[in-house]
């Protein structure tokens, strides 16, 4: 079934009787050519592109709970491709280009809204670093603008220009950055994959991997053994737990990141704004809520809940940057588990087990990567070669000293 304005009107006039399930709930088959572990954004996108772009069939997605319940369902919805390093920037720009055509491609309105991402700077050194990054973006053919203080004021006159502990000196703007209705991304990919024959199997937890002679044979699950010629694991947040079934230790820690939504307010924020002197970034949803976040809690956790200290820290940042939000009320806070990697960048690679592939380590930047991650992972699964934009995301980069460390924090995951 194709979605369109016409269809919406037709259904409205006929009592909405014609809407079909967005995806089926199939019974798992005995075996598949490709099994994707993880029904989050990345896993669903991988299945979608495997079927659509690489012409593969006999594909299943296994999800422990409900699809889209991981980080794709609990993030601050930002998309951007404003990276510095060669290993990252082409990949995130590939993702941005996919975002730009996504809704038409999968026939689902995910509300890709390119209202701009503005990073504020507060010192000369920060402006120098932004200049370097903005120029790296431009050399990669990506849009970037360096704004001075007045340029920032024009976009966001409500910021604290007069009473700031750390004055705003300017900002780096990516006009094509923006936000996307996060849940819709999971649903759009799921629906698109389902329509192309992918079996999406919810409430199916992987409990073991059957590996014979160094080759993957299939997965033990709570719904029985499922055979697989190739298995792609995309379970960021739980990567260490799942890959332990293959005897792997990963360069990854699990950390909790909180995100925040205020009560609905009449829209005032133009796009995404990030504070450069505190941990705070914010946008406003199409429903009116301020959607904001800050730093990770900073300690290993699988608990999906954060502490009070970070809530206070984030709101301090918010009040320092835009003191007019003081009387707006914080409505909901949630915590998600991040795969924090050792250099802040992800891994999309083969493993030592033949037929077993890994996608993870997204830190808190996984949402914006969803389309490119899915495409690249599908590319790797289908062709056994890395996608050109994802070549640097290898496991062995730490052994070889080829880290992709945007923030320069080294092997300390909680600082990335």
């Amino acid at each position: 079934m194709r979605y369109s304005g016409f269809r919406v009107i037709k259904e409205a006039l006929t009592g909405h009787k014609g809407w079909q399930p967005a995806w089926r709930d199939p019974t798992p088959q005995a075996g598949y050519d490709f099994v994707i572990v993880g029904g989050g954004g990345h896993g669903l996108a991988t299945a979608y592109y495997l079927a659509k772009e690489f012409g593969k069939a006999r594909i299943a997605v296994l999800e422990k709970g409900y699809i889209g319940g991981g980080n794709v369902g609990r993030n601050t919805t930002i998309i951007r491709s404003n990276y510095l390093l060669d290993g990252n920037e082409p990949f995130y720009e590939f993702s941005m280009k996919l975002w730009e055509g996504l809704e038409q491609d999968f026939n689902y309105n995910a509300m890709v809204s390119q209202r701009g991402v503005l990073n504020l700077c507060h010192t000369d050194a920060q402006r120098d670093a932004f200049t370097r990054r903005g120029n790296a973006m431009r050399l990669n053919g990506v849009d970037a603008e360096l704004l001075d203080r007045e340029g920032v004021r024009k976009i966001a006159p409500f910021l604290n220009f007069d009473n700031a502990r750390f004055p705003i000196k300017g900002g780096l703007l990516q006009p094509r950055g923006g936000t996307v209705r996060h849940d819709a991304v999971a649903w759009g990919y799921a629906r698109g994959a389902d329509q192309r024959g992918v079996d999406i199997i919810q409430n199916c937890e992987v409990t073991g991997m059957r590996i014979e002679n160094g080759r993957i044979k299939g997965l033990e699950t709570t719904r029985g053994f499922i055979g697989a010629a190739k298995v792609g694991v995309a379970v960021a947040g739980s990567s260490s737990r799942v890959m332990a079934h293959a005897g792997m230790r990963l360069p990854i820690e699990s950390h909790v990141l909180q995100a925040f939504v205020s009560e609905g307010l009449k829209p005032v924020l133009p796009g995404v704004i990030t504070y450069g002197a505190g941990h705070f970034y914010v946008s406003q949803s199409d429903k009116g809520g301020l959607v904001f976040g800050g730093d990770i809690d900073g300690y290993n956790s699988y608990a999906q809940r954060g502490g009070l200290a970070v809530v206070e820290d984030v709101c301090e940042g918010g009040m320092s940057l835009m003191p007019m939000i003081g009387r707006a009320r914080l409505l909901r806070i949630w915590g998600g588990i991040m795969d924090m990697s050792m250099d802040g960048s992800p891994i999309i690679d083969r493993t030592h087990v033949e037929g077993l592939y890994f996608n993870g380590g997204w830190c808190y930047g996984g949402f914006k990567a969803t389309p490119a991650s899915g495409w690249s992972f599908a590319h790797l699964l289908a062709t056994d070669t890395p996608h050109p934009t994802a070549r640097a995301y290898r496991f062995d980069r730490f052994q070889k000293g080829l880290m992709i460390d945007e923030k320069g924090m080294g092997a300390q995951p909680n600082l990335h």
């Binding site: 739980s238 260490s240 820690e253 699990s254 300690y299 290993n300 699988y302 608990a303 730490f398 300390q412």
Partner: protein, 95 residues
């Protein structure tokens, strides 16, 4: 969270700075065979278990002790707090 400091008693975790897995105490011997691989595994690979985790916390806003905290990272329950120095000595580290 509250960390029961062995010298100072219960303290809000906010007074501390977190480093990570207590295995970071086990710095390899630079002269041993395969030191490069050993240092790589030491610095980069993690068990990251969804259960008990021995981890390093630094009392930055307090007495500057490094502590080894045993904590269930699925529930945040803390079962043991030791001075990292004692742990390091018990692991055979000296000068």
């Amino acid at each position: 969270m509250i960390i029961n400091h062995p010298l100072l008693g219960p303290r809000d975790a906010q007074e501390f700075t977190y480093l990570g897995d207590a295995n970071l105490i086990d710095r390899p011997d630079w002269q041993a065979d395969g030191a490069g691989q050993a240092f790589y595994e030491y610095l980069y690979l993690r068990d990251n278990p969804a259960g008990l985790h021995r981890e390093l916390w630094y009392h930055e806003q307090g007495d500057r002790s490094w502590l080894v905290v045993t904590r269930n990272i699925s529930t945040h329950e803390i079962t043991k707090v030791e001075l990292a120095r004692d742990v390091a000595r018990a692991k055979g580290r000296g000068k």
